[in-house]
């Protein structure tokens, strides 16, 4: 066993190349607002531009096959990229995108060769930012109960229905969604998976007012929407994986949403909280010397380390193509409940300071206030904590008579 990543001379040379490239290409004035809802359109544009530049080198989605716009790199190289980007507080992709991480993974497994050649390069090189449209008012955990309907009409499908909790600030180029194509067919055999250009007539996008739009874990979307489809005509070519095969296609991105890809991101809020306690005085002494706060700091540290290691383990399993079973949902479950626990420990440790964004008084420019909200909201995206437990139990072979296997990622 070796936790330390050791680098070959070739990899060290790659690191030097990445470092020089980033120095020349990361805009110096990139801002990361503590509340992602405050990301300006201009700043978003800069992130997209950086994404396209990374994409042109195959570095936006570095482990995807190069023939589809990925970098064809191994995990170790991908880690180097992530580490170097982390020095700028960035990760891949440098903005919210459900395309490369989830949608492209599904197309890669389930799309025809022609579809892969058409859809993947723009997704993987950052030409398109993509939203996922799964949930509906009546179908959240029970995703297979979606009602949005697609009806074949010549070489098009006509889509009608409503999706909720969708997307991000500043729009997207492409949407992918799960809809009913055969209302008569049995559950899981009635659905199809579509890629839908966001500018088709009949699509209406309305913002939702939420406590905040996402939690620590993925790039935060900043905003969610209700999306209405009113007779939207989508070319049949945009149906991925064949008619009524949509549930299978979905298992790939659901596996990833359930944590199956792992996580190698630092817990930015926990780290900044710890640093804050070490450097801020209250009652004349550093917070870290207050025995109560010290206990709280250790508790936060332990919790974030456990999640880090579960994330690392799962990342390794997935990228080294090792067998996986319950690890993804376990990571997702632990990450979510740990975030809420950490939020409450911080509330206890720093008192009402945790709840303000006031320029004069807020610690870390309001990062903690946002985290208080984000930790609550973050319990739900990608499947509730209960659902993660359900899946974990199935994978452990105690949820159903037949042990469930992890979804296909390749």
């Amino acid at each position: 066993m070796d936790f330390e990543v050791t680098y070959t001379p070739e990899q060290e040379a790659f690191r030097a190349e990445v470092r020089a490239w980033l120095a020349a290409n990361v805009p110096p004035d990139l801002e990361e607002p503590v509340d992602p809802a405050h990301l300006s359109y201009e700043q978003y544009g800069k992130r997209r531009e950086l994404g396209r530049k990374l994409g042109a080198k195959g570095w936006l989605y570095p482990t995807y096959p190069p023939e589809y716009g990925g970098g064809g790199l191994s995990v170790d190289f991908a880690l180097i990229l992530e580490e170097e980007l982390d020095r700028y507080g960035l990760h891949l992709p440098p903005y919210y995108d459900s395309g490369g991480r989830l949608g492209a993974a599904s197309i890669l497994v389930w799309g025809s060769e022609e579809q892969k050649r058409y859809f993947l390069p723009p997704m993987l090189t950052g030409q398109w930012r993509t939203w996922q449209l799964l949930s509906e008012p009546g179908a959240g955990s029970d995703l297979a109960a979606v009602q949005t309907r697609a009806v074949r009409d010549g070489d098009h499908y006509v889509i009608n229905g409503q999706k909720i909790f969708i997307g991000s600030l500043h729009g997207c180029e492409m949407m992918w969604t799960l809809v009913v194509t055969d209302p008569e067919a049995p559950r899981h055999h009635n659905l199809s998976w579509f890629m839908i250009p966001a500018d088709l007539p009949g699509i209406e996008v309305r913002p939702m007012e939420l406590l905040t739009a996402g939690g620590e874990g993925g790039a935060s979307p900043g905003l969610k929407h209700t999306v209405f489809f009113d007779n939207v005509r989508v070319p049949a070519f945009h149906l991925i994986g064949g008619e009524n095969n949509g549930w299978k296609v979905a298992t790939t991105h659901l596996e990833l949403e359930h944590g199956g890809g792992g996580l190698i991101r630092r817990h930015r809020v926990a780290e900044r909280f710890l640093e804050y306690c070490l450097t801020t005085k209250r009652h004349g002494v550093p917070l870290s010397q207050d025995p109560d706060v010290r206990d709280d700091m250790v508790e936060v540290y332990i919790k974030k380390e456990i999640v880090r290691l579960l994330g690392l383990r799962t990342y390794w399993l997935s990228h080294a193509n090792r067998p996986r079973s319950y690890e993804g949902p376990q990571l997702s479950y632990c990450r979510k409940v740990t975030n809420l626990e950490i939020a409450e420990i911080i509330l206890r440790a720093l008192g009402p300071y945790t709840l303000t964004t006031d320029p004069a008084w807020a610690p870390l420019a309001g990062l903690l206030e946002h985290f208080q909200r984000a930790a609550v909201v973050g319990l739900h995206p990608g499947g509730t904590t209960d659902i993660q437990k359900v899946v974990m139990a199935r994978r452990l072979g105690i949820g159903r008579t037949v042990r469930e296997e992890a979804g296909r990622l390749r």
């Binding site: 905040t212 409450e344 359900v390």
Partner: protein, 375 residues
């Protein structure tokens, strides 16, 4: 033994419930949440007419002179809203401070007006070095002739924006406890600024003093150095009423989760059938009941003149934690819909966090509990 409410209390409860339903429906509360005071002149007037703003104030000073438990019944129902506004701060904590510490003249000047809603008391204790122990009161009041001069900041003061008078804990001497004095500062006063603090905290403010002059007659009770004793005595009686507010809040949140788990269908059945959902709700109900009965016993001890300190600390430690956990559970049960602002659950989530530290957080009260038990 009889753990039920009296008929009069049941009547009060029903009329407050009706009031909250009529005057403070969810849409109104969602709008009030965003305002600096959390109330309106009309609401203040109606509550005053119903006698609720003077519920603890003796009849001799224009109040209703009712028991702590009666006041708790009122606040438990308000907590269900959750109704925001300065009612607890002014009519419970503030009024009790004046009752415990004020001179006869101050009682006559302030209390009838508090009951009428024409005077709103704010209570400014905490500072940048936040805490609810006497050492945390550092703002100095310098005596100069017949007045005091103050410069400094009181921070995380609840309901200061609504206040016409601020009861400020200030330092007039070096003794950690015996050096604290309460001053009645009128709003507005030259050099005094009150500012709402932005964020997820509701009606919580910064109060800034720049060379503020306060007449020496503003000392509560007329004698320096009694401030902390008065604050402790008033807090001991006010805390169970704050706890009752949170009990009401917990009840409302549990009710929301129960109703939702009966009506929301996933996988062809109401989600309440899932044992995982049941587990959330059972944990919530356990928190609610722990909060409720620790609070009620503390109230009974206060009303029957028994030593109540340990029970009060117990109730405060349990209840503040309970409100947070009950909201967490409700978010698990509601998932997506619960974080939509218009649904109303986040009003509670916000208050569960914003009230967590008021008058001492659970850790403070656990410690005080051990002291009170003589350990």
């Amino acid at each position: 033994m009889d753990l039920s409410l009296s008929d009069a209390q049941e009547l009060l409860k029903a009329s407050v419930a009706h009031f909250v339903q009529q005057e403070c429906p969810k849409e109104v509360l969602l709008a009030l949440e965003m305002t600096p005071t959390g109330t309106t002149p009309q609401l203040m007037r109606k509550m005053a007419e119903l006698g609720w703003l003077g519920i603890l104030i003796p009849e001799a000073y224009g109040g209703a002179g009712r028991s702590f438990t009666d006041a708790a019944v009122l606040f438990e129902e308000l907590g269900k809203g959750p109704v925001c506004g300065p009612y607890f701060t002014s009519s419970v904590l503030g009024a009790l401070l004046v009752l415990h510490g004020g001179s006869e003249e101050q009682k006559r000047a302030l209390l009838p007006q508090v009951a009428r809603g024409t005077c709103v008391l704010g209570v400014a204790v905490t500072e940048a070095d936040y805490g609810w122990q006497p050492q945390a009161v550092q703002l100095r009041a310098h005596r100069q002739g017949d007045h005091y001069r103050l410069s400094g900041v009181k921070l995380f003061v609840h309901d200061a924006q609504a206040a016409t008078h601020l009861l400020c804990a200030v330092r007039t001497g070096d003794d950690p406890r015996g050096g604290i004095t309460l001053l009645v500062v009128e709003v507005p006063t030259a050099g005094l600024t009150v500012r709402s603090l932005p964020g997820w905290m509701g009606q919580v403010d910064e109060v800034r003093f720049e060379q503020v002059q306060v007449p020496a007659t503003a000392v509560l009770g007329g004698v320096e150095g009694r401030g902390w004793d008065v604050l402790e005595a008033a807090a001991l009686q006010a805390i169970p009423i704050l706890c009752a507010y949170k009990v009401g809040s917990c009840q409302a949140v549990v009710d929301m989760a129960l109703a939702y788990s009966r009506t929301r269908v996933q996988f062809g059945q109401p989600i309440g059938r899932f044992q995982r959902v049941q587990d959330h709700i059972i944990a919530m109900v356990n928190h609610l009941d722990a909060a409720r009965w620790t609070t009620y016993e503390a109230l009974w001890k206060l009303d029957s003149g028994r030593p109540a300190a340990a029970s009060v600390h117990l109730a405060k430690a349990v209840t503040s934690e309970a409100y947070v956990k009950v909201c967490d559970g409700a978010h698990e049960v509601h998932a997506g819909v619960g974080v939509m602002r218009e649904y109303g659950l986040t009003l509670h989530t916000q208050r569960s966090r914003a009230l967590y530290h008021l008058l001492g957080d659970p850790r403070t009260h656990r410690r005080r509990l051990a002291d009170a038990l003589g350990w």
